[in-house]
């Protein structure tokens, strides 16, 4: 049975900027976008997914529902749903997102602001609080034997 090479997931059913393309200016898209070239300016995708490919170099602020970075981004990222920074990716900028996934080997420098989506309105309900484990009593566990404090 002949094997059919699948189309790369990263370019299926979405607009694409190839690695030999350079764009200066604003990009606004109403469909998913794959950027493997150079972009300077801003990128905004309402309710869609932006993927910066491994060859992608983006010097701009980025706003989308979901952002996946495999290449290089210098600029702030606003991903209303999810941001993924893959291994070998590089992001320098401030992040605002609801969820973030960062793989080992990725480089990130900047701030992370987790913005939870507005909960669906339900009468009498209160928004969930961040999960916090109760502080445990101090223990003389292995690895921490003696404490000493010096006040100046």
């Amino acid at each position: 049975m002949p094997f059919k090479t699948p189309e790369p997931e990263s370019t299926r059913g979405q607009a694409s900027i190839g690695k030999a393309v350079k764009i200066n200016g604003q990009i606004y898209s109403k469909e998913d976008l794959y950027v493997d070239g150079d972009v300077e300016g801003t990128i905004e995708l309402q309710e869609h997914r932006l993927t910066i490919g491994p060859n992608g170099k983006v010097h701009s602020s980025v706003k989308a529902r979901e952002v996946v970075i495999l290449g290089n981004v210098q600029g702030n990222v606003d991903a209303s749903d999810k941001l993924e920074i893959r291994k070998d990716a590089r992001l320098v900028g401030d992040i605002k997102t609801a969820r973030i996934i960062i793989e080992d080997g990725a480089y990130f420098k900047g701030s992370i602001d987790i913005v939870k989506p507005e909960p669906a309105k339900a009468s009498g309900s209160t928004p969930p609080r961040p999960q916090q484990s109760a502080p445990a009593p101090a223990s003389n566990a292995q690895g921490a034997a003696v404490a000493a404090e010096v006040k100046h």
């Binding site: 480089y107 701030s111 484990s133 566990a141 690895g143 921490a144 034997a145 404490a147 000493a148 404090e149």
Partner: protein, 213 residues
């Protein structure tokens, strides 16, 4: 692997796991970490600076507490800026500080410094601590680690990943030659501009230090 296991050494291979291609990881209890987060967990919305580079574990733990996290890979920046050259070069020091600790409009409520200070020579270290002092709020805390083996030529350097308020996963990134080895007295002197210094002496030749601004 049970929490509180000692830092791995070649004589304890049975508890080692591989993270990246060559990293060795271990989990240990950390009184310093516990103290640090006891101080900063009372309120949400604080600004925490993590100098170990971004990791999923630290992001999850700190943002789940409701804090804003700032991430910087100090050791990587040290290598990028100095490239093995003289760390006392004034322009390079300024470049390094501009690259790593340039927070004109931000003041931090806590800094996870981890073990990076021991890889700095005295001039760079003094300048770095002075900059750190200016970017943290009064009464805020720094958590630092120092290897205490004064005879060591090279020490393992780690990616510190928070498992919970009391436990750290230490992923060894390699071996480095410390620029300085500190004892309690020299650490007191190092942080004399800060309000207080608290030590946790561990059994693993890793000294945990909580510094209060």
């Amino acid at each position: 692997m049970s929490p509180g296991a000692a830092v791995l050494t070649p004589s304890q291979p049975s508890t080692a796991t591989t993270l990246f291609d060559r990293e060795v990881v271990s989990t240990r209890a950390s009184r310093g970490l516990e103290q640090f987060f006891t101080y900063v967990r009372g309120q949400a919305g604080l600004s925490i600076l993590d100098l170990a580079g971004a990791s999923q574990e630290n992001i999850n733990f700190i943002t789940n507490l409701g804090h804003k996290l700032y991430s910087e890979d100090f050791v990587r920046s040290l290598d990028d800026v100095f490239r093995g050259e003289d760390q006392s070069n004034a322009s390079r020091i300024e470049q390094f500080l501009r690259h790593t600790l340039n927070f004109e409009n931000e003041r931090f409520d806590g800094v996870l410094v981890w073990d990076v200070l021991q890889y700095m020579t005295p001039t760079l270290l003094t300048a770095t601590l002075e900059r750190l002092r200016t970017i943290v709020r009064p009464q805020s805390y720094l958590l630092t680690y120092f290897h205490s083996d004064e005879k060591a030529q090279q020490v393992p350097f780690y990616s510190f990943r928070i498992q919970d308020q009391q436990h750290l996963l230490l992923a060894q990134r390699g071996m480095r030659k410390p620029a300085q080895i500190f004892n309690n007295r020299s650490l007191e002197k190092l942080f004399q501009q800060f309000e207080s210094v608290k030590f946790f002496l561990t059994r693993e030749q890793l000294r945990e230090v909580i510094v209060r601004r």
